[in-house]
């Protein structure tokens, strides 16, 4: 196991570097930031000064060299927008998104596993129909729409929740619900499908012959066999939570990394984009290593040598 993690981390490091290089160039071909940071009527002289100061005058390979040199010294550069180190900005925003994900995903997984399994137990039954309908509803409603309707209904009309912002646990209810909606919807479907397959296997008959109760058949025997695709999709949804976070953070005014990322692209704040991608990528790589380890734990036939 140790050597597997070591090897994986090494590979991940390589692709992380590749990713960062890609982001560096991609970001830069979206255009120069100079006009965004200066008044529209700013003179050529001032514009030159700006470019000079931030090194945008230099050829791209020199800028790249500088970036790599900084990276080696763990310096991701200064944010143009905030005039502070990009790393600092990103690390301030990241915990909020991480918290959102850490609250949302376990919730989603528990809901999905329970609902999906129960639905698969009696395919075509009332519960199955209802669960499928609701989960598909969740999977196909735009989250910004839900967010705004949520605010209008729960905060404005019913007055049971605050509209937006952070602070009390109540403030987290709507954002988490909005964020959970799609992953939960998708996962319920995935759990249901793979449970159907697992439940039709021969070993389920054995368990029934042993007198194992239906709950244990579903949650002990079938679930673990049906878990591989569920883990895969769940990890994808976890990584994708940043997408939902963009919307949720925008609507609810959460100071997270999702909105920060989009804003910094809009603002051509290259250092922040790079730092943000690095941080999310790191998170995703860690998730994926954990996922692979989970595969092997869940299914003993999969071993990494």
């Amino acid at each position: 196991m140790g050597s597997f993690i070591y090897k994986r981390s090494l590979q991940s490091l390589l692709s992380l570097i590749g990713l960062i290089v890609l982001v560096f160039f991609l970001a830069r071909i979206t255009g120069s930031p100079v006009d965004l940071y200066l008044p529209q009527g700013a003179s050529q002289e001032i514009r030159n000064q700006f470019n000079e100061q931030f090194g945008f005058n230099d050829p791209l390979y020199i800028q790249f060299g500088r970036f790599i040199w900084g990276l080696v010294h763990l310096d991701m550069g200064q944010s143009l927008q905030f005039s502070r180190p990009a790393t600092e900005i990103v690390l301030q925003a990241f915990p909020t998104t991480l918290m959102l994900a850490a609250v949302t995903m376990p919730l989603v997984i528990v809901i999905a596993v329970v609902t999906g399994s129960l639905a698969a137990f009696k395919p075509g039954g009332i519960f199955d129909r209802l669960a499928s309908f609701i989960s598909l509803l969740g999977a196909s409603t735009p989250n910004f729409w839900v967010a705004i309707v949520g605010v209008l209904v729960f905060a404005v009309t019913l007055r049971v929740l605050p509209t937006s912002g952070t602070g009390t646990p109540l403030h987290w209810v709507l954002p988490v619900a909005v964020l959970a909606l799609r992953p939960a919807g998708v996962l319920v479907q995935v759990v249901r499908t793979s449970m159907l397959t697992a439940l039709s296997s021969a070993y389920i008959k054995t368990a029934r012959a042993k007198g194992v109760g239906s709950r244990a058949i579903v949650f002990v025997h079938a679930l673990r066999n049906g878990l591989l695709p569920v883990i895969t999709v769940a990890s994808d949804q976890t990584a994708g939570i940043v997408n939902g976070a963009v919307i949720v953070e925008t609507v609810f005014g959460f100071p997270g990394i999702g909105k920060l990322m989009i804003d910094s692209v809009m603002q051509r704040d290259f250092a922040v984009i790079q730092a943000a991608v690095l941080v999310t990528a790191l998170a995703v790589f860690i998730i994926n290593i954990l996922v692979d380890i989970t595969y092997a734990i869940v299914d003993p036939r999969i071993r990494y040598n």
């Binding site: 979206t30 255009g31 120069s32 930031p33 006009d35 965004l36 940071y37 200066l38 008044p39 529209q40 009527g41 700013a42 003179s43 001032i46 000064q49 700006f50 100061q53 927008q81 905030f82 005039s83 502070r84 900005i89 301030q92 925003a93 909020t96 705004i148 605010v151 209008l152 905060a155 404005v156 007055r159 605050p162 509209t163 937006s164 912002g165 952070t166 925008t250 609507v251 609810f252 005014g253 959460f254 100071p255 997270g256 909105k259 920060l260 809009m266 051509r268």
Partner: protein
């Protein structure tokens, strides 16, 4: 929430809180005249200059201005407000290491130098005569001499009625009343600024009492007459036409476009009914505004006729014309351009619509223009909240202006001249500039002087004005 504190919802959060950036509304609305003050204050309603930290001023020679400072004022950190601190602020603002907008937009090209005459007297020297120097100084916030030079600060220290308390990145900024303030003690003790991009959420926050004031909400969210108040935001929207590129180089085509857009139909639907039809780039409160210009009627028949005439003269009126908008330029701006494009298609023009993002939009907005560009109908929104047409005329219409499509030597001369005048002559010259552009050249398609809606909570007694486009003096808020 305690009784004397308020929460204010802004449409966007600040990226830094440096005093030298106060002309930017994301920053100015929080700290300008609240935390940091200026020597003089602009009365946005009529362009008059009022004393603030300076008690009086005079212009001993064309290139010199002398300002007498208020006595006994202290910065929040205890440093005395005196001539030295003013000089320090000017030097800091002029530091080329910072892109302070006070310098890059207002002081650039003036080579302004401040010097101490005595503790309470400062002299400003400029290279060339700057008749509107007090107007410029209304944009320059004075900050404590302990503010570091050569780098931005996020902890503004000024002389204002409020002290900067804290900034939670991405979440909120808090300022609290400073009881040692030199002037009258405002009613509000503490203000918390938060920001929400979604207008409906911002409006909801005030409705539910989570906030007391939402700075700008979309017209369709302004559904409550009692709380939703309209104010001109000093923005003027306009389609700029690429007058050099066929078929827009033909005045008849440009006239046809002006005639084909049913501006009145937009009012009360996509655009607030409180917005004013515009005939020029600056609003009525700006020095140089020409009140005599008449709006274009909506006359598609006439427009079609003009196009037919042009066509008969060999102008290719069916060439694809690119209409460029910008997502979120103003509330419903996407809908606006869609409808406008449709109106132009109605008279037979071939319009392709592009909604660009800020940076791309700037690329099209600014010179150098692409050599092989398509004919452009380019949506712009210009805000002149400095009260003087100088900040508009040159930049938008002079041959050397960065966003000017025109190169008319007579107009250039007129603009140059107006810039050096003072008083009524200055007003008259600028009015002539705008008339010439509008009537003679038909250089663009003026649209509206825009308004914003502010939702003011029930606890607060406040009516917004054009000043609130860039600042919100908490002192003017009254609790009911």
């Amino acid at each position: 929430q305690t009784k004397n504190s308020v929460t204010i919802v802004l449409p966007a959060g600040p990226d830094r809180l440096d005093p030298c950036e106060t002309p930017r509304s994301v920053i100015g609305r929080i700290i300008k005249q609240n935390v940091v003050e200026t020597l003089v204050e602009l009365d946005y309603g009529n362009g008059k200059i009022l004393p603030r930290l300076a008690e009086s001023w005079e212009q001993p020679s064309p290139n010199e201005w002398v300002f007498k400072l208020r006595k006994g004022v202290k910065f929040h950190d205890g440093a005395p407000f005196d001539a030295k601190s003013v000089v320090y602020s000017v030097e800091r603002t002029n530091d080329p290491k910072l892109t302070c907008i006070a310098r890059t937009k207002y002081l650039d090209g003036t080579s302004i130098v401040a010097s101490v005459i005595d503790d309470n007297t400062v002299k400003f020297t400029t290279k060339t005569p700057v008749p509107i120097l007090p107007t410029l100084l209304a944009q320059l916030a004075i900050s404590s001499p302990n503010t570091p030079k050569g780098e931005y600060t996020n902890k503004p220290v000024g002389t204002g009625p409020y002290r900067f308390e804290g900034w939670a990145q991405g979440a909120s900024v808090v300022i609290v009343r400073d009881d040692s303030y030199w002037g009258a003690k405002p009613a509000i003790e503490k203000a918390t600024y938060v920001w929400r991009g979604e207008s409906s959420v911002a409006a909801a926050m005030v409705e539910t009492g989570e906030a007391d004031l939402a700075f700008s909400i979309a017209p369709q969210d302004a559904t409550n007459k009692a709380t939703d108040k309209v104010y001109p935001n000093s923005d003027t929207s306009m389609f700029r036409l690429s007058v050099d590129v066929p078929p827009l180089n033909d005045a008849r085509v440009r006239k046809a476009i002006n005639l084909a857009i049913d501006r009145n139909a937009f009012l009360g639907s996509v655009i607030s009914s409180e917005a004013q039809l515009a005939m020029q780039q600056v609003g009525p409160s700006v020095l140089g505004f020409n009140p005599k210009l008449k709006p274009w009627p909506y006359d598609p028949t006439q427009a079609k006729k003009l196009l037919a005439e042009a066509k008969a003269d060999g102008v290719d009126v069916t060439r694809e014309i690119r209409m460029v908008g910008r997502a979120g330029m103003f509330a419903n701006s996407n809908e606006f351009v869609e409808a406008a494009a449709e109106m132009l298609r109605q008279i037979g023009l071939n319009i392709k619509l592009d909604n660009l993002e800020m940076s791309q939009w700037l690329q099209v907005a600014n010179k150098p223009f692409a050599a092989d560009r398509q004919p452009n109908i380019f949506l712009t929104m210009h805000d002149n909240n400095s009260g003087d047409a100088a900040f508009t005329a040159f930049f938008k219409y002079h041959s050397n202006g960065r966003q000017s499509e025109l190169h008319d030597p007579e107009l250039d001369a007129l603009i140059d001249k107006a810039g050096t005048e003072q008083g009524d002559k200055r007003v008259a010259d600028y009015q002539e500039v705008f008339r010439r552009i509008y009537e003679d050249k038909v250089a663009d398609v003026p649209l509206f002087h825009m308004v914003n809606f502010m939702r003011v909570g029930k606890r607060i007694d406040f009516s917004p004005t054009i000043a609130n486009a860039v600042e919100l003096q908490l002192a003017s808020l009254k609790l009911k």
